[in-house]
Symmetry: C2
Subunit: 487 residues, 2 copies
């Protein structure tokens, strides 16, 4: 694979994301020889550091957060690639330091002229920074390419997302804007496409005829921690549903591709997101439930009368011929019982008339006959398949059984971290694992519509106990009482 | 469940089957409280033993061969139920001893009047014994029921099977004749029906549209041991294919049942066996391969010029709408590489045109895309499912993965031994797990036809090395070279 030499400029170079995710990912890439030969990293932050101090700070972070073992030689090789620039990115004068640096650098012979920017800062800084990209920082002015990676959430609603996009498009063409949703870099999310399409046992069954419902859960057991300022302005719908959960839904439900290329993957996902609506015929109360964990109002940097949701559950319809009548249940929340991200496919009960006759003679609990395919995205990675067998012994009694596939156990390696895949893709110019503007636009359209209906309806915020599975009202959106949340 | 009090009379009471299987099964049933309150066992054998000596002989056998732990109290309770009668069953005068015993017994008040006979003798003794059943031993003459369990093989071909059946029918009505194929008592064989019919992920796919081929393997690593006299007159086709392999095929391929009762199971299996033919259009050489292991001619009690097959491989067609064009490959043999009995379902490659387009862009080896469902009957019991996933890493590379279900691990108990289930069924009068006369008749019809064609063709017997997977000629019956034997 082609690896373009480049310089990566990380805005927010001393922040949480850089220390916990980006630098450990780059260090792993160094270990695995995935970095271009000529590759350097410039951390940009408000804090005063010299490069030596910055490298020291990162060495501690990488040792703590890298999923790979600590290799002093590899660290040393990587550390020599790192520099630091102190700059207040909201201040155009201060921003000039970076421009000058790039200008000088680009004038040097033998220098690398390609720049990959990474906005690892709070989303309130996206717009101020975007407005400062010009001259040598932007595309076309000087030699080499300019690409920009932007963390989610991309906007707070459709209007702000449009503003933001306009600002970036002033300095970059769309093909150089990489909107990050790091779930798209997760191994098992990419695997959903393969599991669906390249297995005869699943491919013909992946539709309304055989699937009863689909559940997508992204549960966190942590609270909001020190991110109260950001979180209280954002909430579960904007922080998680608009990005991670809709992307999980899209790869699970999108139409088959005619080839695996960026354009087709993106357009298949866009079509899917555009086909999403609240469950038709339901009132908003039985298609959307918001919650807040008890104690949230006492968290640091949270308004004492905040109505920000820390939990959200939705029942969505996918209005395509493949999915008529199949509810897609989404839920996500903070301070839930267990940390887990997974997609659960609940198959219908056996359809054959003959089989139904057998089942009647056995007077079984119907609910026990379902088949489940669970795609585990994190923290475990793998698949679990629940099916039915005969209980050992002479009578015919049917009981559920489970088979499991553990991805890291099978390959004896950890999957590469999502951020490794995404940085590698950006260096190579592959956008298939990034959110396109069309996806962002259509997902905000849905989120805005949901909020509008919710506020016009009861607008109720349901309290729930920390370490529970969220407000009990979330059960009310499950069809007909025959369905339960799987976890 | 109803447990009829009865006396079980085991012909061949000191033989291999009684010592290794029947008595250990009865002892297990004693432990699990599955025996009727009034239940006794009479061993009948040519050897001179008193009852004390016979019990001692069995105690050693049960301690060695029972799958349960040794419990002196349970053994003592069971031993008091056992008696021994010495009799040469080929001699009508000697047989009279048994008749007199039953006559006397039946005249006693409070005595048990039901008799369950078990023919655990060599098949050459079936006909002589059958002719001696009369008077108090047979049905209808005196109080109580008379049932008879007969080990396989039931006959040596269609003609002898008919003679044998006629002889038994002279003393028993068909509903009291229990033709044993102990594979039908095996847990995983019964489980095939449940796995097929009661899982949405398998039921709609169990046909020619989604299945490429089915393979049924019963491999033994032992040779013929001390059974040369029996085996040399019988061979793999009559010893294994006519019974175990055709029964495995029948439960795998039969049409869905409208209810799980004896009559429907049996008639569905009969219809299936009647629909079997050699692969149409093929010469016999590419639909049937017989082999003999090197060294067989030196085995004890084997003719030095024997042409008995110790290995057989078949390619059969199931001429029902469900299975048009799907080959069923059967193979069984002695002295093969590994002891295993399993059914392997090889699914077709993904069918969707769209998916095929993807696969072409990935230039995959097509053969790697199959899905396999392996039903493990013995020595392991369980299921394995091979499917395709994405190899971890950034490129889209598709690799096979496996999920496993281990039946005894999941239930933390050993499945009951096949003979326990079958004796329990016979005591309760349930014939659903026995071979009906119609099944025997139609399976012999097929075996006779195959032998006839084989002799009219090359009639070749292929030598193979002990501890191999049999003669390499067996590969020639696999369609088109795209298929391989799974083991």
């Amino acid at each position: 694979l082609h690896k373009d030499d480049c310089t990566m400029v990380i805005f927010g170079g001393t922040g949480d994301l850089a220390r916990r995710k980006l630098m450990p990912a780059l260090y792993n890439m160094q270990l695995e020889d995935k970095l271009p030969d000529k590759f350097s990293v410039i951390g940009v932050g408000r804090k005063e550091h010299n490069t030596a101090g910055y490298r020291e700070l990162l060495s501690a972070a990488v040792a703590e957060f890298s999923t790979q073992t600590w290799d002093p030689d590899a660290w040393h090789s990587f550390a020599t690639r790192i520099q630091y620039i102190s700059s207040d990115v909201e201040d155009p004068a201060s921003f000039q330091v970076i421009k000058t640096f790039i200008q000088d650098h680009t004038n040097q012979k033998e220098a690398v002229h390609n720049y990959l920017y990474y906005l690892a800062v709070g989303p309130h800084l996206f717009l101020p920074i975007a407005k400062n990209f010009s001259g040598p920082m932007s595309e076309g002015e000087l030699e080499g390419w300019r690409r920009i990676m932007i963390e989610k959430p991309f906007g707070q609603d459709l209007a702000t997302a449009r503003d933001l996009n306009k600002a970036f498009c002033a300095s970059f063409s769309d093909r150089n804007i990489y909107r990050v949703d790091h779930y798209l870099g997760k191994e098992m999310l990419q695997n959903i496409m393969v599991v669906r399409f390249v297995n005869t046992v699943f491919e013909p069954l992946w539709n309304k005829d055989y699937i009863d419902n689909v559940q997508i859960t992204v549960a966190e057991n942590d609270g909001i921690g020190i991110r109260g300022d950001y979180y209280d302005r954002t909430g579960a719908m904007r922080d998680m549903v608009q990005s991670h959960l809709l992307q999980m839904l899209a790869v699970t439900a999108m139409e088959p591709l005619r080839s695996i290329d960026e354009e087709r993957i993106v357009s298949s996902k866009v079509n899917l997101i555009r086909a999403l609506t609240p469950w038709p015929g339901d009132k908003i109360d039985t298609t959307m439930v918001l919650g807040q964990y008890r104690g949230y109002l006492e968290e640091k940097d949270v308004a004492t009368d905040s109505s920000t949701e820390t939990y959200s559950a939705l029942k969505l319809a996918v209005n395509t011929p493949r999915w008529q009548g199949v509810p897609f249940y989404l839920r996500t929340g903070k301070k839930l019982e267990e940390k887990q991200a997974r997609v659960t496919i609940q198959f219908k009960e056996p359809l054959s008339n003959d089989v139904n006759l057998i089942l009647n003679t056995l007077s079984l609990e119907k609910n026990r006959l379902l088949n489940l395919l669970v795609i585990k995205v994190q923290p475990q990675e793998g698949l679990a398949f629940q099916f039915n067998i005969k209980k050992p012994g002479s009578a015919i009694e049917i009981v559920p059984a489970e088979m499991d596939f553990c991805q890291p156990c099978a390959f004896l390696i950890n999957s590469p971290e999502a951020y490794e895949c995404l940085i590698e893709d950006a260096i190579q110019g592959d956008k298939s694992r990034f959110s396109s503007w069309n996806e962002i636009e259509s997902s905000w359209t849905l989120i805005d519509e949901l909020f509008k209906s919710y506020k016009a309806g009861s607008g109720k915020l349901n309290l729930y106990e920390p370490a529970s599975w969220g407000p009990r009202q979330a059960d009310s959106i499950l069809s007909g009482g025959k369905v339960r949340w799987w976890s």
